[in-house]
Symmetry: C3
Subunit: 160 residues, 3 copies
Amino acid sequence: MEDSRQTRFAAIEKTLGYSFDGEIKIGGNYTSTVQHGDVIYVSGQVPRVGSTVVVTGRAGADVSLTQAQLGAKVCAMRALALLRQNLGSLDRIQQVMRVTVYTQSATDFTQQSEVADAASEVLHTVLGAAGIHTRTSVGVAQLPKNATVEVDLIAAVTPA
Amino acid sequence: MEDSRQTRFAAIEKTLGYSFDGEIKIGGNYTSTVQHGDVIYVSGQVPRVGSTVVVTGRAGADVSLTQAQLGAKVCAMRALALLRQNLGSLDRIQQVMRVTVYTQSATDFTQQSEVADAASEVLHTVLGAAGIHTRTSVGVAQLPKNATVEVDLIAAVTPA
Amino acid sequence: MEDSRQTRFAAIEKTLGYSFDGEIKIGGNYTSTVQHGDVIYVSGQVPRVGSTVVVTGRAGADVSLTQAQLGAKVCAMRALALLRQNLGSLDRIQQVMRVTVYTQSATDFTQQSEVADAASEVLHTVLGAAGIHTRTSVGVAQLPKNATVEVDLIAAVTPA
């Protein structure tokens, strides 16, 4: 199989055991991506697959580092799936510029960077150098739907 | 009355019972908006009206969802008021690109998206399609002055 | 001594008693800065000097406001050191546009703005008007390595 961003994305899908092929819908007054010029913003993604948030609870209490990292990977894959859906191809991602990783954290859990590493690894594996980004990792009190992790990003886009 | 962004802004002011007409001042070493090229950043807004933060306390404990949503609306109105003050008119907002909504949350409060919906609704009601944005909603441990909600945003601007 | 951004940076270094001269290394799948066009993103900085995080613990509990402010200053100095390292000179910072300051906060600690003021002061002192930015200050549950403060920023850059 040709080595491409799409094949590497599919390989991670297979490893995780989740599909990100379906259209990701967002209702109402906000949306999943907004592009302005050659910059695209992606909304904060929780580790949802279909209608289920697959990793919930508090890192360092209910949830192990490994589970939280799985959550971060799913968030990153969702962000990539949204970029692919909106840009037509992963190949149009020129550079991921900023990633923020929020981890629902027990007050004594200090491995937010290690959780975020899992999201960074997905981006780098799929996109190569274009996936190397600046990053902010913080531990928060709660996240929507009790998600363990939420990831948003900003990327530069190659013209179609 | 003509249907315009300004009239819709005024209608929400009337519903909330708060005026956002006064100049919003910020002291010192930072400022309320910075524009670079056609992109404008707005500082994090707490639900302050005049010198009072009108919604304080922790969502899911001291503060109901409805009160937190009121706070989110006031934050969004303040952000719009700052854009109007700096751009001269709400009509110069080309597109809201990113909104981040921080909710001071009890550890078991997971309706951060529902709080954020209230901010998104204000932006969409006033700005129409230009108000549809990407969004990140998180639950935090505390906010300045015990505010229940804080909202910041990034928008694209139409030349004057 | 000539009054320049570099001399003002060095004066703060001397006051703090820390040196930010060494190269700041970041491993792996993310990086400390990404520039696209004339915009540069800086990764979230904790108050690390060399291999030590010099201010750790929870503001309002283990850590006083003054100590948290020291942490915020170190974060801001690190961000400036990274910009200098990547741009070749502090003089190429055209405008700091956005600063986000995360403070690890006790649930009743509400002086996040006062902590952030210390970071804003460093940026303004070193950069003058170019250091006046929009800002978001929030109180979070935890930060990487138990850091008390984390600061990230986005700036506009003057061509070399």
